[in-house]
C-alpha cells in the first residue's frame, strides 16, 4: 500500500472538523486570523436568514422534503456562483488546460443542479443569496483548495440528506446528484495533488454541521459586495 505524503496537505472537511480544528483550518485557508473567524461566526444568523434556513431534523414528511431541497438549492447557488466568479476573475483562464476543463465542467453541472432543484421546488424555490468570496476566486491556489473543501462538503451534505426524503422519487434523484458531487470531489482532489478518495466511506453531515461550515466561510453576504480591489462585484 503506497501512501502519498501530500494527502496531509489536502483539506477535507471530514479531516479538519473531526476534533473541532475547523477554526484553524479555515484561518489557514483564508489567511485570516482566528479572531476573524470568530467574527465570521457572528454572521451566522444573517446567513441563516439568507437561504440556509435549517429545516427540522424531524421524521420524513413532504414539508421536510421541501426544506431539505431548499437547503440544497442554497448550497448549489453557492457552488455555481463560486465557479462562475472564478471564470469572471480570469483565474480559470490562467490555469492549465485540464484544470480549465475541470472548472468549466463543474461550473456547468452546478448550474444544472440549480435549474433542477428550482424546477422541482417550483414556487417554493428560494432566491439566490448574494455572495462574497473575499478574494478566494482570484488566486488559483485558494480557488482550488476551496473547491476541494466545498465538493467534499457537498458529498457529506447529500450523503446525510439523501436518505431522509419521504418521497422515493426524491431519494433516487438526490442519490444521482450525490454520486455526481462525489466525482467532482475526486476530480478536484486529484488535480490538487491529493488522493481522490480519502476513506472507504464518505461520512454524512447534518444540515447544522454543513451550515456551520458555510457560515464560517462568510461567503454568503447580506448585500452585493465590493471586491477587495475596489472594483464592483455582482456575484449575487
Amino acid at each position: 500500500m503506497s501512501s502519498k505524503p501530500e494527502i496531509a496537505d489536502a483539506l477535507t472537511i471530514a479531516e479538519i472538523d473531526r476534533d473541532g480544528a475547523l477554526l484553524e483550518a479555515v484561518a489557514n485557508l483564508y489567511g485570516s486570523s482566528r479572531a476573524d473567524f470568530l467574527r465570521g461566526a457572528a454572521f451566522a444568523s444573517a446567513a441563516v436568514a439568507l437561504g440556509l434556513a435549517l429545516p427540522s431534523e424531524a421524521s420524513a414528511s413532504p414539508k421536510q422534503d421541501v426544506g431539505i431541497l431548499q437547503f440544497d438549492l442554497a448550497f448549489e447557488y453557492l457552488q455555481s456562483t463560486f465557479y462562475t466568479q472564478a471564470v469572471r476573475d480570469r483565474t480559470v483562464a490562467r490555469m492549465k488546460p485540464e484544470k480549465q476543463r475541470w472548472a468549466h465542467v463543474l461550473g456547468t453541472h452546478e448550474l444544472a443542479h440549480v435549474a433542477i432543484l428550482k424546477d422541482v421546488l417550483g414556487k417554493n424555490a428560494t432566491k439566490k443569496p448574494f455572495f462574497n468570496f473575499h478574494g478566494v476566486t482570484e488566486s488559483e491556489e485558494a480557488f482550488t483548495k476551496t473547491a476541494v473543501a466545498m465538493e467534499d462538503l457537498t458529498v457529506a451534505l447529500l450523503a446525510g440528506q439523501a436518505p431522509r426524503f419521504s418521497n422515493p422519487a426524491l431519494t433516487s434523484a438526490v442519490f444521482s446528484l450525490l454520486t455526481t458531487e462525489a466525482r467532482h470531489a475526486a476530480w478536484a482532489r486529484r488535480l490538487s495533488g491529493a488522493r481522490p478518495v480519502a476513506a472507504a466511506f464518505d461520512e454524512p453531515k447534518t444540515l447544522k454541521q454543513v451550515s456551520r461550515v458555510v457560515q464560517s466561510t462568510r461567503f454568503i453576504a447580506a448585500r452585493p459586495q465590493t471586491g477587495r480591489r475596489g472594483k464592483p462585484r455582482y456575484t449575487g
Partner: protein, 201 residues
C-alpha cells in the same frame, strides 16, 4: 407545500428516470429463490435481496483489484488506484456482509483473464465495474428502508469517486453527467454477463 410531489414527476425527466430504474428490483430474479413478480415497498426481506445484489458487485471489484495487484503488471497511479480501491471496496464488502448477516451471499468465483495482466484491459474493466456499481446503487436507493439508505449513501459516494478516478487515469471526463444515471437490476446483470468475469455456478 406545493412541491411537485404527486403524479407530476413526468414533467422532469430527471426525477422520472432515476426512479424508473428502481422499479425492476424484484423482476430480475437476481438472487436465488426470488421469484416475486412485483416490486413491493421497502422491507427487511427486500433489503437483503438488494444488499446481496450490491455485495456481488463489490466482490467483483475487490477480486479485480486484488488480481491486478498480484499479477504485478500495474504501475504508477494505476497500481495505487488498484491498491487503494481494493482496500476500500473490501471494507464495503465487510460492511454489507455485516448488515445482511447470515443471509449474506458467498463470494462468487471470478475469472478476469487478461484484465488483470494487461493495464489497458484492467483500466477498462475497473471503469465498467465502478460505473456499474455506482449506477446500481442509485437504481436501488428508493427500494431500501431508510436505515439501510444511510449505510449505502457513504458507500456509493466512494464508488463514484473510484469511477471518477479511473476515468481520469483513462483520460476520460471523470464526471460525464450533471446527474448520474441509474441502472436497473436487469441492466446491471446484463452488463456483468457481457464481461464474462463471473463464473457460472
Amino acid at each position: 407545500m406545493r412541491l411537485r410531489l404527486d403524479g407530476q414527476f413526468d414533467r422532469s425527466s430527471f426525477l422520472g428516470r432515476t426512479l424508473a430504474a428502481s422499479g425492476a428490483v424484484a423482476l430480475a430474479g437476481f438472487a436465488a429463490g426470488s421469484g416475486r413478480s412485483a416490486a413491493a415497498g421497502p422491507s427487511e426481506e427486500q433489503n437483503i435481496r438488494i444488499l446481496n445484489f450490491l455485495l456481488r458487485l463489490e466482490y467483483a471489484q475487490v477480486a479485480l483489484y486484488d488480481g491486478g495487484v498480484s499479477a504485478g503488471a500495474l504501475r504508477g497511479e494505476l497500481r495505487e488506484f488498484a491498491e487503494v480501491c481494493g482496500d476500500q471496496d473490501r471494507k464495503h464488502v465487510d460492511s454489507l456482509r455485516a448488515i445482511v448477516g447470515d443471509k449474506a451471499q458467498a463470494q462468487p468465483s471470478f475469472r478476469f483473464g487478461d484484465a488483470v495482466r494487461n493495464p489497458a484491459r484492467f483500466t477498462a474493466a475497473a471503469l465498467t465495474l465502478e460505473e456499474t456499481a455506482s449506477a446500481a446503487y442509485i437504481g436501488q436507493a428508493a427500494n431500501l428502508t431508510k436505515d439501510r439508505l444511510s449505510d449505502i449513501a457513504g458507500i456509493v459516494a466512494v464508488d463514484a469517486r473510484h469511477a471518477a478516478w479511473i476515468r481520469a487515469i483513462a483520460g476520460r471526463n471523470p464526471a460525464p453527467h450533471a446527474a448520474d444515471p441509474a441502472k436497473t437490476v436487469r441492466q446491471v446483470m446484463r452488463t456483468l454477463a457481457r464481461t464474462k468475469f463471473v463464473e457460472q455456478a
